[in-house]
């Protein structure tokens, strides 16, 4: 120190002017902060892009283009014997109804005086979805009195025309497409100008079953929602009691010995086993060994139960651990048995935490896809399963599997349906998570 002052040299650093080394260190500090902030911003942007693309891609599935035309239900074609016998009417196939719809559409076009250049008969008939004739047939079967009358029918239009009004198909792409043509789209525009064609809110997406490759406009998630619901019921009925019982034993009663250690290590490892491995287990144990039916919600529910058990056990144990020992001591002190202190005092106090963990486990199970693929839930299911318990053994689909299924189809309209199904799935997940947060807020207790 004294040498430096004796030297008479300029001070090498000042508090007011940062020296190069400090500047370098400060720059490093700023860079480091920027990296950190950048990482958070990148993950947020990713979340926004992810949700944005799915929602914009899928919102179209909730709107559907319909054609409103008067349909003359000709008694000579639909009921040849004229006795309105349901058995006879049932014999008339959808093909006949398709022809009736076609004639009605041609009649309507002629009535309104619509003329489109290069319009072929195929363009006119293809405007109507192939599903529409089946829907008309079902309507007539439900009410045979309609035969002979002229009814206003709300008819699904072809997926390409529907896509035209949602921006998926353009005149240019239609010219290259074998399934539609610019003339058909012009016809649709003309019908729309007459008020006969409109794009409306699509309830049937939520209620109707899946449809075949050729008719994306008719596909819906009705069976998938029901199947997912059934599986959640199975998970709720099995995973919650078993998970809570297991946690109570491990947390409150288990002696510290090798067996308990093995169980603990097991549970934490099971929580990290890839979900597809549970699918293999389900296939080998429940379907091949126990002989349960394929693509049934009961098998899916059992597999998802095994998968969610570790989540529920971990959450429940945390909730039990959070109850202070003084509660147990007080109960034991007034003469309760160990079992009574747990079931009468600790468990009710831990309930909110258990509920939250359960809901989060259920949400995880609801979005799981891979194990369900292996137990045959990809199968095409057209009929709604009946009410439980029998319905649990009948084929059904599940929301995430339905999404996967639709991504494997050739028609791009199914991508829109898949995104729509994801919106439904995310809406369910959002509701469950909100419920969990609300429960936590309402019942959270600090000791």
């Amino acid at each position: 120190m004294s040498d430096a002052t004796l030297d008479g040299a300029q001070p090498r650093s000042s508090l007011l002017v940062a020296d190069p080394r400090t500047r370098k260190r400060n720059a490093a500090e700023a860079r480091f902060r920027a990296y950190g902030l950048g990482a958070i911003v990148i993950s947020m942007i990713m979340l926004v892009i992810l949700l944005f693309t799915i929602v914009t891609g899928g919102v179209g599935a909730f709107r559907q283009t319909y054609l409103e035309i008067p349909v003359a239900l000709d008694a000579a074609q639909l009921d040849k014997n004229g006795n309105r016998d349901p058995a006879d009417i049932r014999k008339v196939l959808t093909l006949t109804y398709g022809k009736i719809l076609e004639q009605s559409l041609q009649q309507a076009i002629a009535d309104k005086g619509i003329a489109v250049a290069e319009l072929s008969a195929k363009d006119v008939s293809n405007l109507i979805s192939k599903e529409a004739s089946a829907q008309l047939r079902n309507r007539v079967l439900a009410d045979p009195e309609l035969i002979g009358q002229t009814v206003e029918a709300r008819v699904l239009v072809n997926g390409r025309v529907d896509g035209y009004y949602k921006g998926r198909v353009s005149m240019e792409s239609a010219a290259r497409d074998a399934n539609t043509s610019p003339a058909q789209l012009q016809l649709a525009d003309a019908l729309k100008a007459q008020g006969m064609l409109a794009t409306e809110w699509n309830w049937s997406f939520l209620t109707s079953p899946d449809a075949s490759d050729q008719r994306p406009e008719a596909a819906g998630v009705g069976i998938a929602i029901l199947g997912s619901l059934y599986m959640m019921l199975v998970v709720l009925a099995l995973a919650v009691p078993i998970g809570v019982a297991a946690s109570i034993y491990l947390e409150e009663f288990a002696p510290k010995n090798r067996w308990t250690d093995i169980i603990e290590v097991n549970i934490s490892n099971l929580a990290a086993v890839p979900s597809i491995v549970f699918g293999i287990l389900g296939l080998a144990a429940f379907i091949n060994f126990a002989g349960l039916p394929q693509s049934a919600p009961i098998v899916g529910g059992l597999v998802l139960t095994l998968m969610t058990l570790p989540t529920i056990i971990i959450a429940t144990r945390a909730a039990l651990k959070a109850v202070p020992p003084s509660i147990r001591d007080a109960a034991l002190g007034v003469g309760a048995s160990k079992m009574q202190s747990v079931f009468h005092h600790v468990l009710p106090l831990a309930m909110p935490g258990i509920l939250t963990g359960t809901i989060i486990g259920l949400a995880q199970a609801l979005g799981e896809t891979a194990p369900l693929l292996l137990i045959g839930m990809v199968a095409f299911v057209k009929n709604f399963p009946s009410a439980p318990p029998d319905g649990l053994f009948e084929p059904a689909s599940a929301l995430p599997v339905q999404v996967y299924n639709w991504t494997q189809r050739a028609d791009p309209a199914f991508i829109e349906r898949a995104s729509g199904a994801i919106i439904v799935l995310l809406a369910f997940l959002l509701c469950m998570n909100l419920l969990a947060i609300l429960l936590r807020r309402k019942f959270e207790r600090r000791w």
Binding site: R25, A28, E29, F32, R33, L37, G38, A39, I40, I42, S43, M44, M46, L47, L50, T53, I54, G57, I242, A245, A246, Y249, L250, F253, I262, N266, S268, N269, L270, V273, P274, S275, I276, V277, I280, L281, L283, A284, A285, A290, G291, L306, L309, A363, G367, T369, A370, L373, L374, P389, P400, V403, Y404, A418, S419, I422, L425, L426, L429, N433
Partner: protein, 396 residues
């Protein structure tokens, strides 16, 4: 359905047993419940459990072992068992009988049974895969499976089922996913635990948790319709690296996004577990905040972070839906990240969906693949848990 009828009957019998026995002990005590060892409801529960449990176990075991067989004899046997249990409980019920102790030991037995289901599940996984893999290796030599470099299943016979191309695809995709998720997740965790104001933390943490709650099928669709075409049109085709929408890069990037919250929440816990005194010491010696993090906090947290990365790797290796929709189906050993490759999980799905012939090696190979996957992920998990646990002991 005779099973549900039997179930209902057994439960009804148990309910009746509860009330009858409770009434009987109260009557035996002459209406004075103070003369009973246990409260009357315990006597009732004792009867109900003794009635229901053996019969229910019988039904459960039979359902699982022989689901298709004739139901009637077993249903009758179950009902007889239930009636016998009820009779036994009724005979035993007396004012001095220690019903509470009996009930509690039965309940405890049930609790132990439930906690053993985790073991049963693991055993089920291991045995089912070992069993079927055994069938596979009897038909297909194991060295060709583990060291074969060609994957071309043919259902007519003469398939080559080498795991190496699948393993290569799996590891390549996981590597890209980790290269994306580890830096981003780690930096996000550092920023949130060391720098962020409570307000930013309150916004950013839930948003990152939302990423964690999104099902993987959603990420898969994102890879299929957004990321894949974008990478193909803006990177792969201009650079002349390929024209495939599904590629290693697509799956790796999207999987990386999926793993960000996983890495960040694990690292957050670990960084927060580093004692404040270490930070205070470093700051007191004049280091900047970033120097504290880089030279003190991270080295102290390193074992935990390694554990977190290993757990993330195990997640990446076992991930299915993203690679099914994003990586493609061509088994290939290539370095070009814009080429479609495939993984173990994709091939498990493709060999086991559709009509399965459980005698053909082309189907059975899925179990061998599953077993390999299980062993790899289990190994990673055990090492990771060991590292994390050992590290935690240091500071507690």
């Amino acid at each position: 359905m005779p099973v549900s009828w039997t179930l209902l009957l057994v439960l009804a019998l148990a309910g009746a047993g509860y009330f009858v026995t409770r009434a009987r002990v109260v009557a035996l005590a002459g209406g004075d419940v103070r003369r009973l060892h246990s409260r009357p409801s315990y006597h009732g529960w004792n009867a109900a459990l003794l009635t229901a449990l053996p019969a229910l176990f019988l039904i459960a075991i039979w359902r699982f072992v022989q689901p298709a067989a004739n139901a009637t004899p077993v249903a009758i046997l179950a009902l007889v068992l239930a009636a016998a249990g009820l009779g036994f409980a009724l005979v035993r019920s007396a004012p001095g009988f220690r019903a509470r102790n009996a009930v509690e030991s039965m309940v405890k037995g049930l609790l132990i049974l439930c906690s053993s289901i985790a073991i049963l599940t693991t055993a089920g996984i291991v045995f089912s895969m070992l069993f079927e893999s055994g069938h596979f290796f009897r038909q297909y030599p194991w060295h060709d499976f583990f060291f074969g470099t060609t994957w071309s299943p043919r259902f007519g016979g003469g398939s080559q089922l080498g795991i190496l191309p699948l393993l290569w695809g799996t590891l390549y995709i996981s590597l890209i996913a980790l290269a994306v998720s580890v830096p981003i997740g780690l930096f996000a965790a550092i920023y949130m635990s060391e720098y962020a104001s409570p307000r930013l933390r309150g916004v950013a943490k839930p948003m990152i948790e939302v990423l964690a709650g999104i099902p993987t099928i959603v990420y898969g669709l994102f890879a299929l319709i957004t990321v894949g075409p974008m990478l193909r049109d803006y990177f792969a085709q201009p650079l002349g690296l390929g024209n495939s929408g599904s590629s290693v890069m697509t799956a790796g990037l999207v999987m990386g996004i999926m793993l960000i919250p996983f890495v960040s929440s694990l690292s957050d816990d670990i960084i927060n577990a580093v004692p404040q005194s270490l930070r205070d010491g470093a700051l007191g010696l004049g280091s900047t905040q970033s120097e504290t993090v880089r030279k003190v906090v991270l080295p102290a947290a390193l074992p935990g972070i390694v554990g977190a990365v290993l757990l993330a790797a195990s997640r990446a290796i076992g991930e299915t839906m993203i690679v099914v929709l994003g990586a493609g189906a061509a088994a290939r050993m290539d370095l070009n990240p814009f080429e479609a490759m495939t993984t173990i999980t994709v091939k498990i799905v493709s060999q086991l969906t559709g009509d399965n012939d459980f005698a053909a090696p082309e189907t059975l190979v899925a179990f061998a693949l599953g077993l390999t996957l299980f062993v790899i992920t289990l190994g990673l998990n055990i090492v990771a848990l060991y590292v994390v646990r050992k590290y935690r002991e240091q500071y507690e």
